[in-house]
């Protein structure tokens, strides 16, 4: 079957290009990274979400000041529903900084208010290492000179004051916001500080946001190998760590949708090579360790660690596998996790019968289509009516998605895992894989599903 049109999409036939059922020896990818059909009940967010919410938000020691009316700051306060953990919880994510633009500011301009807000925030929190100013829709339209104000404020305060032009209306999804954050952090931060000392084993982990402590499961593996993590971009990162990132010998890229930009820029300017990695599941995590070890010449050490880690969890994973084998999952994630997790589920004998992303690009869909079996549905930017149709008609045993889709799945009686914010993570690396399996077991076999009463279809 080639591209297909779901029943719920009869009135918006352009969705056919985004909806593909994989067939043998075809070279088709669903259309992606284009404007959403207006009014189609998309689950997508905005450019501001990608910049402030995803990439910048996890940076733990700066004031994230949202320049705009209060709504945008309020909804992203503390990372919204994202749980980007840091070791600075007394400050990071605790407060909500906004210029709180009012109607007269929109009419007469918000530059003065922004300037005063930066100084006031700095005065209240002098220990913060910088101020990141995130621009919102209204600001983009009224044309405040963000760079000028930030430059003046930087001179006044003596700390970094960096503008991000991430107005929500730019781009077609969160994706452009990732790009803007990458470019701005590269231009304004990377390379502005030298590390006190360098080793031959310095590496950055790029594109991990420390969701429920993922990095704290990942980093020890590399550290035991003898590698020093110079910078984590941007989970639990300080702005100084990002400033020193240019001295690493290698960039390990985890989220390959939100951070290929900065990896490319660092490769071009500083000659830092990139290893792309998936740090979910046993096989993929082991491959990542081996790839990194091969670069640094630490192969023996890596094998030792892999052997030890795998031995620890193998019996548990085998037990889960016997319970999960033959189950069918629908994966809907931002982008890379959709393909990261197809292979992870395969380790349990769980087949991905449908996969979707919110803001994936062609390369994401190429990886998804390569990994799923024939007959699987691959759909770009699915809207809530399509999701309901897929969950109802394909009847997956498990749906893995985010909060916005969680209660839809529950109301349809479908077991669900929150893959964005997690249930009880971390889910990365070996120990995280066991957590993940534990949560999958909980939802798959919860007795409550069996108590639901099914009436006749109206």
């Amino acid at each position: 079957m080639p591209l297909t049109l779901l029943n719920s999409d009869k009135a918006i036939p352009e969705r056919e290009k985004h909806t593909y059922i994989k067939a043998p020896s075809e070279n088709i990818l669903p259309l992606s990274n284009v404007q959403t059909t207006p009014g189609d009940f998309t689950e997508r967010g905005c450019t501001y979400a990608g910049c402030m919410g995803v990439v910048c938000g996890p940076i733990k020691d700066v004031i994230h000041l949202v320049h705009g009316p209060i709504g945008c700051a309020y909804w992203t306060w503390g990372g919204g529903t994202r749980q980007n953990l840091s070791d600075n919880p007394g400050f990071h994510g605790k407060y909500c900084f906004s210029t709180d633009m009012q109607e007269d500011n929109i009419i007469f301009g918000g530059e003065d208010k922004l300037y005063k807000s930066i100084l006031e925030a700095h005065e209240e929190f002098p220990e913060a290492s910088g101020v990141f100013v995130h621009s919102t829709c209204a600001i983009g339209l009224i044309g405040d000179d963000l760079s000028g104000v930030c430059k003046r404020a930087e001179e006044e305060t003596g700390i970094r004051v960096i503008p991000f032009n991430c107005e929500g209306f730019r781009g077609c999804s969160q994706s452009l916001g990732h790009h803007i954050a990458n470019d701005t952090l590269f231009e304004r931060v990377v390379g502005t500080k030298e590390p006190e000392e360098l080793t031959d084993y310095d590496m950055n982990i790029i594109g991990d946001y420390n969701i429920q402590g993922d990095l704290w499961a990942i980093m020890p593996l590399f550290e035991h190998m003898g590698i020093r993590i110079l910078c984590t971009f941007t989970g639990n990162a300080s702005v100084d760590e990002i400033a020193q990132a240019h001295r690493a010998k290698l960039n390990l890229m985890h989220c390959q949708r939100s951070t290929p930009y900065i990896c490319k820029l660092m490769e071009e300017k500083y000659g830092i090579p990139v290893v792309k990695a998936t740090l979910f599941g046993v096989e993929q995590t082991s491959k990542a360790l081996r790839d990194v070890a091969a670069f640094f010449g630490l192969e023996d050490k890596a094998e030792e660690i892999i052997k030890e880690e795998v031995a620890q969890i193998a019996p548990k994973i085998e037990a889960y596998r016997s319970k999960f084998e033959g189950k069918r999952v629908f994966i809907y994630q931002g982008a890379p996790r959709a393909w990261h997790w197809i292979n992870m589920f395969r380790e349990f004998g769980v087949e991905t019968i449908a996969a979707a992303t919110t803001f994936g690009h062609e390369d994401d869909y190429a990886k998804i289509c390569e990994r799923v079996n024939d007959g699987a549905l691959v759909i770009d930017n699915p809207n809530s009516l399509e999701l309901e149709e897929i969950l109802t008609d394909l009847k997956p045993d498990l749906f893995i998605s985010g909060l916005k889709e969680k209660y839809l799945a529950y109301k349809l009686g479908v077991p669900f895992i929150n893959g964005h914010a997690y249930e009880k993570g971390p889910y990365a690396a070996y120990s995280g894989f066991v957590n993940f399996a534990r949560d999958v077991e909980k939802t798959l076999f919860a007795p409550v599903w069996g108590l639901i009463r099914r009436g006749n279809d109206a």
Binding site: F41, G71, W77, G80, T81, C137, C172, L385, K404, G455
Partner: protein, 408 residues
């Protein structure tokens, strides 16, 4: 959105960028534990330059074709308002067959979330209510931004008095829906569009939250000459006053069951007065709820030393002066609240989940209330309003004080 979720088969259509729908949806999911469906016109860079008309027209067409809703509420944003889209004009040009389409102006740079709810209710009654004969004996109740449990308490009181009424809008079932398969296309419950049209015929209207629904009540009173009042029935005196107003408007009498309910609340308050009397309370809530809570904690023998709301309002300030000699924070943020909590030697704090860090930092007893509450479950199910809701609130308060005492 809050207002539209209480209208049966209604679809909120956000005219703006995608973050403006995605972010609020998550907060509704978290607080209510319910799926919510929101459409967005997905304004991009082109629309920001050339106007959003094309996106809006296409959105309405697509929503109608795929969902056949009874109502679409077009909700504006900073983006569409700053571009200057004439949504009233654009909407009036269309033909929507069986669906009603109502424009609602809610840019974030004017007022607060409370303003948005108030504007939505006013837009609904202004656009949908129709004068027609015969008048009926119904009451219109505008609950404001309260929980499904609160609406349920109100409905149960009115049912016990055999009064017919229309709740504008009624989230009691739509945001606390049962899991029964097959899932209906639209959640059961909510105010019907027909009821919204008929609300003109009612004999009276009571807004439970003047700031969130009061404008619609004023409109109904002015346009159709019905009796109008605003009372937030939290606590003994406020609930008494609410029931008196209901009786005045409908000539109903207070049944014995409600007298018993009142007695039960008094009984609960007497049982715990040794725990509650003398405690110093800080209250953070939307204006009307904050005032009513301040009155109730006073009935419990507490001293409301801080009464605060993030929505700036002259009326709130005025009324707050009559319920407290303490500090009034009018349109202030939680950073200022925390400072006040430190200064005033507070024992117990009332507020939503965003106040949890303050309660921890300052080591005070904490009662969760308002929206959003997502660090505990179930708060949407139960109401503070009415005598029965007062019992629940009394227990919450006392248990919070007891737990605080055990913490030391």
């Amino acid at each position: 959105m809050y207002a539209l979720f209480g209208v049966h088969a209604a679809v909120p259509l956000v005219h703006g960028s995608q973050g403006c729908s995605a972010y609020p949806m998550r907060m509704f999911n978290r607080h209510f534990g319910e799926p919510v469906q929101v459409a967005v016109s997905s304004l991009g860079e082109d629309a920001s330059v050339f106007g959003g008309k094309k996106n809006l027209v296409e959105s309405i067409k697509n929503v109608i074709a795929r969902r056949h809703p009874a109502l679409i509420g077009v909700i504006t944003t900073c983006l569409s308002e700053t571009i200057g889209d004439d949504i009233d004009g654009i909407i009036s040009e269309g033909n929507y067959e069986d669906s009603k389409v109502v424009p609602i102006h809610t840019p974030s740079y004017v007022g607060s979330h409370v303003t948005g709810y108030d504007n939505a209710l006013k837009a609904l009654v202004t656009n949908l209510s129709e004068e027609s004969e015969p008048a009926n004996a119904k009451l219109n109740i505008l609950p404001g931004m309260v929980n499904p449990g609160d609406v349920l308490e109100i409905k149960q009181m009115l049912d016990s008095m055999n009064i017919s009424y229309t709740i504008l809008s009624d989230i009691s079932e739509t945001l606390n829906a049962p899991l029964m398969l097959p899932k209906p296309p639209f959640t059961v419950g909510g105010t019907s569009v027909a009821e919204l049209e008929d609300c003109a015929k009612a004999r009276g209207v009571i807004a439970l939250c003047e700031h969130a629904g009061g404008s619609a009540a004023v409109y109904l009173k002015g346009k159709y000459g019905m009796a109008a009042d605003t009372i937030c029935p939290i606590g003994i005196a406020n609930t008494d006053r609410f029931l008196d107003a209901v009786c005045d408007m409908t000539c109903a009498e207070i049944p014995y069951s409600l007298e018993q309910g009142r007695g039960r609340l008094i009984d609960a308050m007497v049982d715990v007065h040794m725990k509650t009397c003398g405690k110093r309370a800080a209250i953070f809530a939307d204006p009307d709820i904050a005032l009513a809570l301040a009155e109730f904690v006073t009935e419990l023998g507490m001293e409301p030393v801080i009464v605060s709301s993030s929505t700036a309002s002259r009326k709130f300030l005025q009324k707050a002066k009559s319920v407290t000699d303490g500090e009034i924070l009018n349109g202030r943020d939680l950073y200022e609240l925390q400072r006040a909590v430190k200064d005033k030697e507070v024992d117990i704090l009332f507020g939503n989940t965003k106040c949890t860090p303050i309660a921890k930092d300052e080591n005070v007893a904490f009662v969760r209330c308002g929206f959003p509450v997502y660090d505990r479950v179930g708060y949407h199910r139960y109401g503070f309003m009415g005598y029965h809701g007062g019992v629940y609130l009394t227990d919450l308060i006392t248990n919070a004080i007891l737990e605080w005492g055990e913490r030391g």
